[in-house]
Each structure stands twice: as structure tokens, then as C-alpha cells.
């Protein structure tokens, strides 16, 4: 957060956890904290009590820009009829089909 925070409630953070080395970080929830260091500490306490993670990211929720759910069809449906983007679209002779 670059703006000094003047509100009374603690800001909201989104938490991302990498469950094992080699995997990507995955969103797992949110929490309130006054700053990044506290958010990391609390994310550890809340989301990794059973060894669910080996790395944690926290991001101020306000910093996330999301696509508009109202645009869902316009954004994502055009991919629906582009079956040629998938390997299964192509029928090859069985001798080479493991390609």
C-alpha cells in the first residue's frame, strides 16, 4: 500500500500458498492485517498449520484487477469453437498417434 492508511479497519490481503517446491502458488483465502509483514505472519498461522505450504505470497486485495463477470461470455466463449487448438482435434494414423 502506497497511500497512508487512515481507515480504522485493517486492510484486506489475498493469500497465495505454494504447497510444494515445484508447484505454483495458489490462491487460498484472505485475511486482514495492518502491513505486509503481519499479513505474511498471519497467513502462515491461518493457512499452513498442517504443512500445507512451503512458500506464501500476500497481496493487498485492493491491488488486484479482475475481469468483469458480466463480460464472461464475451471474454471466454470465443475459445469454445476453436477445437483446433487442442491436440485431440487431429486424427493421426495409429502408428504415429503417440506423437
Amino acid at each position: 500500500m502506497t497511500e497512508p492508511n487512515t481507515q480504522k479497519e485493517w486492510p484486506l490481503w489475498e493469500v497465495f500458498v505454494r504447497s510444494r517446491a515445484g508447484l505454483d502458488h495458489k490462491h487460498c483465502g484472505s485475511l486482514h492485517a495492518t502491513d505486509a509483514a503481519m499479513a505474511i505472519q498471519m497467513a502462515r498461522d491461518v493457512y499452513t498449520r498442517r504443512q500445507e505450504g512451503s512458500s506464501v505470497w500476500v497481496v493487498p486485495s485492493a491491488a488486484i484487477t479482475a475481469s468483469d463477470p458480466g463480460d464472461k461470455a464475451m471474454y471466454f466463449d470465443p475459445a469454445e469453437d476453436k477445437v483446433y487448438r487442442h491436440p485431440t482435434f487431429y486424427k493421426l494414423p495409429s502408428e504415429v498417434d503417440h506423437m
Binding site: 497512508p4 483465502g29 495492518t34 503481519m38 491461518v46
Partner: protein, 336 residues
């Protein structure tokens, strides 16, 4: 658990939907109904009917309050747990409950209420929490019994909510259910130790705890289906998946054998196997007691709420100091 919200919220939820204002709104409503019918999830930013939002906010926040208030009867025994092992287990369990409260508050916040608003509703008595936490924990056996029966009932209640139509709630429930199983098992295990290796006095203590908790646990599932006017709407919306009576029966059926293995008697003379139904019959539940406890007249309502308010008030300086520190650091960084 703790899905009594729908049954204790009066008529508000059943109110007829207001006359729809525009063709656009009609189209949105139709699309929402389609999604529900198709078994799709509703996300926070999706359009939803106002009553759906209100009902969920109420249920999720009450669920969250129940987790937090539920820390009190057990926290009461952390300092008196009989061994270091039991103390570590109980600490972990109570910490889990706090975490469950947090997941649920976060899910409720996506519906447009702030954490402070929800806590204020709890502290002023406007919001309810599960009736079960208004009963006292008198002995160490109560802690094991809470794990076995209260958490057992909670799991029975919560598993269907993992398929709730509101996705943030469903995701929180999946996480909670994964952690909850340890709660029930540790309780049963602790009672087993007393029943098998304990003294007569300890066995009597376990039986006494079961006698006191059994009926309040059956009440956790909410009033009978024919007195649960909001259930139909909850089912329609995919918020409620299984009826109160069905869940209660499932709980009784599952618990009878566990009680036998443990060597305790469930305090119900009418409990008997019904071959025809393929279920256990059980006696009449004292519903006036349930409504008394929900209305604030249970043995511990005042004490529980007073504890929550005190914890909140006593922690105010910590919350403010942490904010002041963060502000100061930000200002310093910007000056540099």
C-alpha cells in the same frame, strides 16, 4: 455447523420477492435461476437476488460467530487439561476454530459487510450464534464429548454445505471440513481413554457429560422440517442441501454404535431400532428449551457474549497501535 440461522431468522427470508423493476433485472434473475438449476456456483461479483445475499450473509456470519464463540467453552479447559499431550491437542483444536471463524468471516465479507459490522452485530446481540455454545463445560469429559458429539453433529451439518451454491462459502466449508475430522476423533479418543483405562469416577464423569450434551446436540440441526418455513427457499437456492430432520436422523444413526463401543448410554429411553424404517427411533426433543436458548436464556448466553465483548474491547489498543505503526512505516518510506 451452526446452520440454525435460516431457522431463526423469522419471516424476512420468506418475504415475497419485490416487484421486479426492469426487463434487465428480470433477465438477471432468469440467468441466476438457470445457474442455480444447472448446479453452477455463484461468485462474489455475480448478480444475485437481494434476499439470497441477505440470507447468505446472515447464515455465514452466524456460522463465523459460532466458531469464535465456540472457542470459549473449550478454551476454558486449556489450562486444566490433564496432560501435556491433551493440552497441545486442545490448543490446536481451539486455534482451528479461530481459523474457521476467519475463513467464514472472509466469505461473508465478499457479500458486502465489513468484519467490524459483523462483530458489532454479534456484540450488540443482533446476530446469533449456535445454541450449543450456551451450555457450560463442567468437567474434563465435557471437552471429549464436545469433540465427539458437538463436532460430530457439526460435521454432519457442514459436509452438505461444501456443495453450497455460493462458491466462497463452499470453499471455506471444504477447508473447514478437512480440519474438522481431527476434532471429532480426538474427542472420542480422549473419552475412550477414560472409559477403558479410567476409574469408576472417571467413567461416571463421561456418562454425565454425554447425558448433558446429547439433547442440545440434537437441537443443533434446527427445528423439525414442518416447523422450518425457510428451508424450501434455502433448498431452492442451493444454500441448504439436506433437511434438518434428515441430518438429525443421520447423526443419531451414526452415533448409536459409537456410544456402544465407547460403553456409554445415550440418555433417551425411547431410542430403539426401527426395522421398518431402517433407522433408530428417538424421543421427543424439548423445543421450547431450544427457543429459550436461541432467545438468550440459555445457561451461559450472557457470559459468552460478555467474554467476546471484553476480548474485543481489551484488544482495541492493540488493533489501533498496529494501524498506527503501519501508517508511520508507510509515511517514513514515502519520505525516504
Amino acid at each position: 455447523m451452526y446452520t440454525q440461522a435460516m431457522d431463526t431468522m423469522g419471516k424476512e427470508m420468506a418475504e415475497a420477492p419485490k416487484a421486479l423493476r426492469s426487463a434487465e433485472e428480470l433477465a438477471l434473475q432468469a440467468r441466476f435461476d438457470e445457474s442455480i438449476d444447472a448446479g453452477d456456483f455463484i461468485e462474489a461479483k455475480d448478480w444475485m437476488p437481494e434476499n439470497y445475499r441477505k440470507t447468505l450473509l446472515r447464515q455465514i456470519s452466524q456460522h463465523a460467530h459460532s466458531e469464535i464463540v465456540g472457542m470459549l467453552p473449550e478454551g476454558n479447559w486449556i489450562g486444566r487439561a490433564p496432560t501435556l499431550k491433551r493440552k497441545a491437542i486442545l490448543l490446536a483444536k481451539v486455534q482451528d476454530e479461530g481459523g474457521h471463524g476467519l475463513y467464514l468471516y472472509a466469505a461473508a465479507e465478499t457479500l458486502g459487510s465489513s468484519r467490524d459490522q459483523m462483530l458489532d452485530a454479534l456484540h450488540t446481540g443482533k446476530a446469533k450464534y449456535s445454541s450449543i455454545f450456551n451450555y457450560p463445560t463442567l468437567s474434563w469429559a465435557d471437552i471429549g464429548t464436545i469433540g465427539w458429539l458437538v463436532d460430530g453433529a457439526a460435521i454432519m451439518n457442514q459436509v452438505p454445505i461444501c456443495r453450497c451454491s455460493y462458491a466462497p462459502y463452499a470453499r471455506a466449508m471444504i477447508r473447514i471440513c478437512r480440519e474438522e475430522s481431527f476434532h471429532q476423533r480426538q474427542g472420542y479418543d480422549s473419552l475412550m481413554v477414560m472409559m477403558q483405562g479410567g476409574t469408576d469416577a472417571q467413567r461416571a464423569m463421561v456418562q454425565d457429560a454425554v447425558n448433558r450434551w446429547w439433547w442440545p446436540c440434537l437441537m443443533m440441526f434446527g427445528p423439525p422440517d414442518d416447523q422450518s418455513p425457510n428451508s424450501a427457499q434455502g433448498m431452492r437456492w442451493g444454500i441448504k442441501r439436506v433437511s434438518n430432520d434428515t441430518l438429525r436422523q443421520k447423526f443419531v444413526d451414526a452415533t448409536v454404535d459409537q456410544a456402544k463401543v465407547l460403553g456409554v448410554t445415550l440418555p433417551d429411553p425411547d431410542l430403539k431400532w426401527n426395522e421398518e424404517r431402517g433407522h433408530w427411533d428417538f424421543g421427543a426433543i424439548d423445543w421450547p428449551e431450544f427457543y429459550r436458548v436461541v432467545a438468550g436464556e440459555g445457561p451461559n448466553n450472557r457470559e459468552r457474549l460478555a467474554m467476546r465483548v471484553k476480548a474485543w474491547d481489551d484488544g482495541a489498543w492493540v488493533r489501533e497501535a498496529a494501524m498506527a505503526h503501519a501508517r508511520k512505516q508507510t509515511t517514513k518510506q514515502q519520505a525516504a
